[in-house]
Symmetry: C2
């Protein structure tokens, strides 16, 4: 992969001397960005460009070439790639559009490219991309004409859309953030986003990684790579659009839309998902500061109003204001005239106008052991302060490094002064207080998540006999049907998830007999492969208290179902002992196309039906993740014993989640699985599945 | 008020020729901003500044003066104001700090200023402010030296913090937004934020009003003024900090923090509350476009990636993508080469590179009756496109005006190009897609809210006899106590809020007799002025099913309470018929220091206890607002009959809210009032208060 970004000699194929030729732009970009290697222009019409001869084909180039940048009409690309292969070129960037995104014919062309690349061992980026930039060696080959308007820095970018990628560069430039590497991945026919990510994680010049994705390729590989990354990965994943998506069959499916799975997966592997460029650029700036070890901030401000806004923001985003000890206040008091201002946190610098004193106050504050970071709010009042402000910021940067604590510097000044600060200093300047504190919070959370990911244990593996489940699933698949209720319950049981066993009954008399054995009251549920939403058609009867109730319910159920579904085959009913008490949960799972098995837990009833509150994770989940799922559930306090109530059996629910996770990993054939409800009882009393659906 | 912003002759008092003199900055600012009137420098040391003589006192000025800008040490301000009064000056801006915000002595000085102003009929801004700017006549008197870096425009600002106000100006300048008037209100001793707001609403030059507040003065006057405003009012209200606030006694108080009341009040009077400057500046830009009549947008984009990001954002913020009719697609198809790209909404301009064609496509799209606005996403690819881009934006502006539909223009380009577009065009340029769509949504909601405010009916006035309530409240106040349970229920009844009447009983035998009359099962509740949280000490016993249960519960209750509160005086118990079924709500109210009476409604149980979900409004509320409160309640679908359940009696709840509102308006003596629970039954079956607390 390194060779993609560090070629020594480059053939740019598709160059002509016409002023609107895009290959020409690539040539000029390489020159303007100061590419350190040799460039050979290639184009069928020949001619001259930037005082060098345009070769008619790569085979005409007299020297060895290790990279081809290709921008010729799609139908010629296979032929060009073949020539490159023959010439011994093993890396390429194919910028040409008009492949699978365009037509079936284009898709066929992609097939040709893959075959040629295989034959010669060529690895390439694209097609349908705007190319690559490496600020370390000036290898800059996008086809739009670019001025080198951004500085060299430590952020590297992978983007599925060239246009969006360039916009991000514009934003970074506006914020004074430097770029290391940029790759527009296009159709990702050969080198894909995961490959690039893997490379950036190892790449020495890259400290922060940003990924823009419109689709996920191999979600599990993405997670595996990201989990290993010591570098922060920021991702903007678009294309969440739900229009035209199929209506989901199960609760679980509707609660685990693709986008919710992306959220869960990113969270699990430590990728920070970003939704707008404001957050993105603020967060990139925050990441350039030393990490926050804890939540206690000190706010030091030249303006009282700004101090209030910052204190509000601290509270809103969840930071704390460090308490200043009396001795410390006595110390900084010496810098002030008389006792004009109440010294506290936030600290209003009030009538102090000496920037050197500001520095010393920040230094003394940062030295406090209970201060994890400083937010310094500066207002540049006069043009004469411009130089001293710049010096101050430089010294604050060094100070932060010395203490290894972040100093987030906010400056209010007119736009030209801000622009000059951002351009001259390679240190983040914030101009929005609330947004800055939100970004610091993201940074803080990222550091903690990194820690968690490093400390994570393996998902547990229960000793279960998967054979009974396999037999049931195989035979249902052989009959092209989903599992029946009793089969679904058996599958759960075989994985150690407690169920309230029922007895199948084929007639009213059998049902009464089953009820007598189970003990009244009982519940009765229809078992039929034709009916999925049982309760909607009267297929669930609860709280049957005696024999006549059972037998009436049986006949009534049969009648109502046959009325609704005249062709339904009613195999039998399941008679269960009624379970009283406990809280209803929903436990579910499904196979996601990108990320594979996904587990879901939610509180039952209105929580899941009205609020659509549920938490999901990509399986297999660790024990810690399973506990985290319950913590994250809105309303989970009810389970924890809120308002003096008894605590429910969280351990049993976690166990069920983990066993469900293992079941889904073992059987990718299970498309969707709903346990609804899973009843959980008070601490020590376990949980039990009362109903289950398994869709294959 | 107009005279504050449009003086003809100004005395700047506190000027010297020293380079660090702040009065000198004021002089220079007036000159740089091109003030149209005459300026007289005044300072005790005399001397010369900008080639004019510094008068030693205002009385030395030979001509008439109608405005004094004062920046002399605090202790001299009264004397200076007195001189101004004698000179006939009737308007002043007092920038000096060191008054009530500083010391008790400063507070006394403020008293002197008020007396002098009254004597001479002087109206003034400040003290402790950075002054006023009027871009229409160049009256710019802040003491920091300012370059006229912002353009004249239609946004006017009121700010309680000078520093924050200047920061906002910096942000506006960076976005190319123009300023009309700026007033730093400081301590608001004479002219306050409400006065300034009232003036801006009438001021012809002002189209958009921004207010930065750290405290609310007269909340009800603020609401009254804002309600009348046809101009959008944006407010950033800081100082939400809850540290050090007293712990609230009632549920209602803890659910209606000052900041939640501010939210409710702003919403009711049509002020849009803003929490960060990104949202502020984006929203200010959106407000400069013609209003959106409905939610159907068309996205037209030069880059496919940007189109996807915008479509996602539309979905996330709640817009719709207009459907393009087939005939329209046939029409725009003519602009494209072959059928390269699937023409749909969002519309990817793909391989079209002709900016003139872009214009025509936008025009044709805007002409569609089902398109309420266009989002145009432009990527400036080459330097040669810079001029044409500017022309295109100019033409789009005119097009939007012609159709009276918004065209939100996003441009991706490098920072210097963006800066040049923003400076040269007096039309909003957006550079962040998601943030732009959020701002458009705010604009859309504002337009609807304006409509609602205009159409609002009066709060209803029920014909109730307030005398019984007055007698109960007066006698409780005379005894310095809160209302007892039975009194509280009587107050509710007298205002027509249904209650489940109970019978007081002083002994176990009386309780049994009361229960026999009410019919089993019954509930029993302690009546005691010493106990506020009854259920925490066993003061509520539910579901008592026979005489022995009642009598045991009575003794048990007495014992447990006296154990917890040995000194408690147990007046008696209330025996109520048990109410079964229905949903529990909480209905409450309290007096807010700034906004007066506030009403609150919430769903009972975990909603209010765990989620702290409640909706509040400043009383009196209209019938429409009361229905709106229920709509806004998370989980309200439960009341509306979600999942095939029967609908609950919303009309009865609305009636109770309105009567509660009237009660709170009539009796400001009621500090807090909790009806918890208020049980609501199915449609047509009403609601009833089961318990109530009134704190005076």
């Amino acid at each position: 992969m390194r060779n993609v970004f560090y070629p020594k000699s480059v053939a740019v194929i598709g160059v002509s001397s016409k002023p609107d030729n895009l290959g020409r732009n690539i040539m000029l970009n390489l020159i303007d960005f100061g590419f350190e290697g040799v460039v050979y222009p290639v184009g069928p019409s020949g001619g001259v460009i930037t005082s060098r001869r345009i070769h008619e084909s790569v085979s005409d180039i007299p020297d060895e070439v290790d990279m081809a940048v290709i921008l010729v009409p799609a139908r010629f690309v296979p032929q060009v790639l073949e020539e490159c292969g023959k010439k011994g070129i093993r890396r390429a960037v194919i910028e040409t559009a008009g492949f699978r995104e365009y037509s079936e014919q284009g898709r066929a062309l992609e097939g040709e490219l893959t075959a040629i690349a295989e034959k010669y061992g060529i690895r390439f980026i694209g097609p349908n991309c705007i190319g690559v930039i490496n600020m370390e060696n000036g290898f800059s080959v996008p086809f739009p004409r670019l001025k080198p308007f951004m500085r060299k820095g430590d952020v590297s970018i992978i983007t599925q859309s060239g246009g969006v990628g360039l916009s991000i560069l514009n934003h970074m430039a506006a914020e004074g953030l430097g770029l290391n590497k940029f790759a527009s991945a296009g159709n990702m026919l050969n080198i894909n986003a995961e490959d690039l990510l893997e490379y950036y994680i190892e790449d020495a010049g890259t400290k922060i990684i940003f990924v823009y994705l419109e689709s996920i390729g191999d979600g599990r590989r993405l997670m595996k790579i990201a989990r290993r990354s010591p570098k922060p990965i920021l991702a903007l994943k678009s294309n969440i659009g739900t229009l035209g998506k199929n209506i989901a069959a199960s609760h679980t499916a509707s609660l685990s839309s693709d986008d919710r799975v992306v959220d869960a997966a990113f969270r699990q592997c430590g990728i920070t998902r970003i939704h707008d460029v404001t957050t993105l650029s603020q967060y990139m700036k925050a990441l350039r500061l030393p990490p926050l070890n804890d939540k206690r901030l000190a706010i030091i401000s030249r303006s009282g109003g700004h101090a209030i806004v910052a204190a509000d923001a601290c509270e809103t985003v969840g930071f704390e204001l460090a308490e200043f000890p009396e001795s410390f206040i006595r110390e900084i008091e010496k810098h002030f005239r008389a006792s004009v201002i109440k010294l506290t946190n936030p600290l209003d610098l009030g009538d102090l106008f000496d920037l050197d004193v500001y520095y010393r106050i920040v230094e003394e504050t940062l030295a406090q052991s209970n201060v994890d970071g400083v937010v310094f709010l500066h207002t540049s009042l006069t043009a004469t302060e411009h130089g001293p402000t710049k010096d101050l910021v430089r010294r604050l940067e060094a100070l932060g490094r010395k203490f290894n604590k972040p100093i987030a510097v906010y400056v209010s000044a007119n736009p030209s002064e801000i622009q000059s600060l951002k351009q001259d200093l390679d240190f983040p300047i914030f101009t929005q207080i609330v947004e800055m504190l939100r970004a610091l919070k993201l940074e803080y959370e990222h550091a903690r998540k990194m820690q968690e990911t490093r400390d994570a244990e393996e998902p547990p593996l229960f000793d279960v006999d998967s054979q009974p489940a396999r037999r049931l699933i195989d035979s249902a698949r052989a009959e092209s049907r989903d599992l029946l209720l009793n089969e679904a319950m058996d599958v759960l049981e075989s994985y150690g998830i407690p169920t309230t066993r029922g007895v199948s009954a084929g007639s009213a008399d059998e049902a009464v007999a089953a009820a007598e054995r189970a003990g009244y009251p009982v519940a009765m549920k229809v078992i039929s492969e034709n009916i999925s939403h049982k309760s909607d058609v009267g297929g669930v009867q609860l709280n049957l208290r005696n024999a006549s109730a059972v037998s009436e319910a049986f006949e009534d159920m049969k009648e109502r179902i046959l009325k609704a579904f005249p062709d339904a085959r009613i195999d039998s009913v399941m008679v269960q002992r009624m379970v009283v008490g406990g809280k209803e949960l929903i436990l579910g799972g499904r196979q996601d196309d990108q990320f594979g098995p996904v587990v879901l837990i939610g509180l039952g009833g209105i929580f899941v039906e009205i609020f659509e509150e549920a938490v999901l994770r990509v399986a297999p989940v660790t024990r810690e993740e399973a506990y985290g799922m319950i913590d994250e559930l809105k309303g989970a306090q009810i389970l924890m014993g809120a308002r003096g109530q008894k605590r429910f059996d969280i351990d049993a629910v976690v166990d069920a989640i983990l066993r469900m996770s293992q079941l889904l990993v073992d059987f990718p054939q299970i498309r969707e699985l709903d346990v609804n409800p899973l009843k959980v009882f008070h601490e020590g009393e376990g949980c039990t599945a009362l109903d289950a659906r398994v869709i294959l």
